[in-house]
């Protein structure tokens, strides 16, 4: 059954590629093997489905007519639209193409990437000639909403989705998806808030609904989605903090310090450019007794409050206390 369908579709593709003139449905019915013995309605249904299948496979099926007297539409496939343009890759280029394809090996685009390599090989390019490359890259797309959002972003269609909690529906014109530190972010225009927003794809709950026509979303001139994500994840440095660190410890902080001066008693004083007091508190407290915040005072107070909770009564420092 399925082989018969493949056979019919292949014959249809060959026929439509071979013709220069548009062929009407009736002509196709008479010419292409597999449509014989069908009643009018059965043929119509089958032909409609076949056209849809070809289009889904990316085959550029053209509709039109050769003369203005034909009121019935005709079909053909232009070879130029169908064929992969002539392209030859050098062995070193093939090697990096292989790396690029393997990047998605276990991601949702892995299958499409290997299909692409097959097409390039089918054009006569042999990947086996590739030179070895000492680099491997991987990108994961484990977020359930990734594919639907990618589809909508490349289709330039708006999306509706629930964010963080079911029922909290967002309406967004997607501009692009950016992976940063292995996590996917969606950048787009939030239609409810009328602003540019960045969403963590992992926090999208349930189904993503694409709305509107293909191409209806316009990305404003000059928008750089990568820059928007980087600005959000990497806060600009705002304040200079003073931190005491024990000699021989806190290498991570020392590397970022703008100055380090001995403070006596086994301590060094670091001047540290930081973005947020809270973030400094988060980092400093992790070093336990090796790092002490001098200023900003709010960061110091935040650390001391947390330490008191932890040191005082560990059993009662209950989760979710939210002090």
């Amino acid at each position: 059954m399925s082989a018969r369908k493949t056979e019919r579709l292949l014959n249809l593709v060959i026929c439509l590629l071979a013709t220069r003139r548009y062929l009407s449905a009736e002509q196709i019915r008479r010419m292409v093997a597999g449509y014989e013995d069908l009643g009018d309605d059965a043929f119509k249904r089958k032909f409609e489905r076949d056209k849809e299948d070809l289009r889904d496979l990316g085959i550029p099926l053209e509709t039109g007519s050769d003369s203005s007297f034909d009121d019935e539409p005709g079909y053909r496939i232009r070879r130029d639209d169908y064929s992969l343009p002539d392209v030859t890759f050098e062995p070193a280029e093939l090697a990096v193409l292989g790396v690029a394809a393997r990047t998605w090996q276990h991601a949702s685009l892995g299958g499409a990437a290997s299909e692409a390599l097959l097409k390039l090989r089918a054009a006569g390019v042999d990947i086996d000639d590739a030179v070895p490359v000492a680099i491997e890259t991987r990108v994961a797309t484990s977020e359930p909403a990734f594919d639907a959002l990618r589809q909508a972003a490349t289709d330039r269609r708006a999306v509706n989705f629930d964010y963080r909690t079911p029922g909290a529906t967002r309406h967004v014109e997607p501009w692009g998806l950016v992976s940063w530190h292995g996590r996917w972010y969606l950048v787009g225009h939030d239609l409810d808030r009328g602003e540019t927003r960045v969403f963590r794809v992992s926090r999208v709950v349930g189904q993503v609904e694409a709305v509107g026509r293909r191409g209806s979303v316009q990305v404003p001139e000059g928008v750089d989605v990568r820059k928007i994500v980087l600005q959000m994840v990497e806060d600009p440095v705002r304040i200079s903090a003073k931190v005491l660190v024990r000699e021989g410890s806190a290498y991570g902080m020392r590397r970022r310090a703008s100055s380090i001066t001995p403070h006596g008693d086994g301590w060094d004083l670091l001047e540290l450019p930081i973005a947020h007091a809270e973030r400094l508190a988060d980092e400093a407290i992790g070093f336990g007794p090796d790092v002490v915040i001098v200023e900003p005072a709010e960061a110091r107070a935040a650390v001391v409050a947390r330490l008191r909770a932890l040191a005082g009564a560990p059993a009662e420092a209950a989760a979710g206390g939210g002090t």
């Binding site: 990096v96 685009l109 290997s114 680099i135 890259t137 950016v178 410890s249 947390r306 040191a311």
Partner: protein, 326 residues
């Protein structure tokens, strides 16, 4: 239906593939296309039935298979070229190449740029849509010298001396490493190599290499050294790893998004019970300190005690330095 939509694209690639390789071996072709030899034979039988309308012998595609399994296809001019790349096919290759192009100091840079230009040309509109997806790799410009040195050592097969910062232990370590490859996983670049101190394959995050020197010693990667299976995840728990259970409240719900966890169990009220395995509990202690009252160690109990002791010692330090408010 799904059979046909899977088989047809394969046939449309198979025909041009075979046209450019007369006498290709059945077994090789099956492997390239990721199908069994039986399936490939069925594909070829089907192709043999197809051709130009009329379907007289001269119209049909000719398929010849020798007794030794060598395939020759002819009379298939209409489908002699593969179908152009779809958007979904072009996107992963283009995004992958653009990601490589962003790595500073890479020796393959030229090949990446030219492959990208050719592919963008061949993919046309499909390439434009690819700009909606991008992968950032850290460090973009922070350690170009490190990557360049690592790259040179790989190319010249020489040993590296590293000063490497280990945050879990807050230590700067010195070691000699025979480089094997650069791996980019989850947006970070790593040097993968044979660590001569550990006598094992180790991953070194490039942004944690504080100093690097290409030594005048040839690299000597032992034959048993196998690069990591990157698809199995970078952090594979070992058999001797300690099991840790953490309970977090809503304010600590971010933890599993940033740390490798074995399981996450949702708790009423928006919290979660997190199980993980680790060879080194020092980072868990840091995490517990950072969480404060937003989370706590449930087990093992001595880890919980260690966290309280860390907190008490830290408070003592603030007191000693006269920085304790109230």
């Amino acid at each position: 239906m799904s059979g046909a939509t899977e088989q047809l694209p394969r046939l449309l690639s198979l025909v041009p593939y075979l046209l450019t390789r007369p006498g290709a071996k059945l077994s090789d072709v099956a492997k390239t296309f990721g199908v069994s030899e039986e399936q490939l034979s069925r594909d070829l039988e089907l192709i043999y039935m197809c051709g130009l309308p009329g379907y007289f012998p001269g119209d049909l595609i000719e398929v010849d298979i020798t007794a030794s399994g060598r395939i020759t296809v002819s009379n298939a001019d209409t489908i002699a070229r593969p179908l152009r790349l779809s958007r979904d096919e072009a996107l992963p290759l283009i995004v992958g190449l653009r990601m490589l192009a962003d790595l500073p100091g890479l020796q393959e840079r030229e090949a990446v740029d030219s492959a990208l230009a050719k592919l963008e040309d061949a993919a046309e509109e499909a390439a434009v849509a690819s700009s909606a997806v991008a992968v950032e790799v850290d460090p973009p410009n922070r350690s170009p010298d490190t990557l360049a040195a690592v790259d040179r050592a790989l190319r010249e097969r020489r040993r590296l001396h590293l000063t490497y910062y280990v945050p879990a232990r807050d230590e700067a370590t010195e070691r000699d490493v025979d480089p094997m490859r650069v791996s980019v996983v989850a947006g970070r670049s790593y040097l993968e190599g044979w660590c001569r101190s550990a006598e094992a394959v180790r991953l070194f995050r490039l942004d944690r290499i504080t100093a690097v020197e290409v030594l005048d010693v040839p690299a000597d990667v032992p034959p048993e050294a196998q690069p990591r299976d990157l698809d199995a995840g970078l952090f594979q728990p070992g058999p001797d790893d300690l099991a840790v259970v953490l309970e977090v409240g809503p304010a600590g719900r971010w933890v599993p998004e940033y740390y490798p966890c074995e399981s996450v169990e949702e708790l009423p009220g928006g919290g979660a019970l997190i199980r993980l395995r680790t060879p080194d509990t020092r980072w868990v202690r840091r995490l517990a300190l950072r969480l404060g009252s937003a989370g706590r160690v449930v087990s093992p109990p001595d880890l919980l005690d260690a966290v309280s002791a860390d907190a008490a010692a830290a408070l003592a330090a603030y007191e000693q330095l006269g920085l304790l408010t109230r």
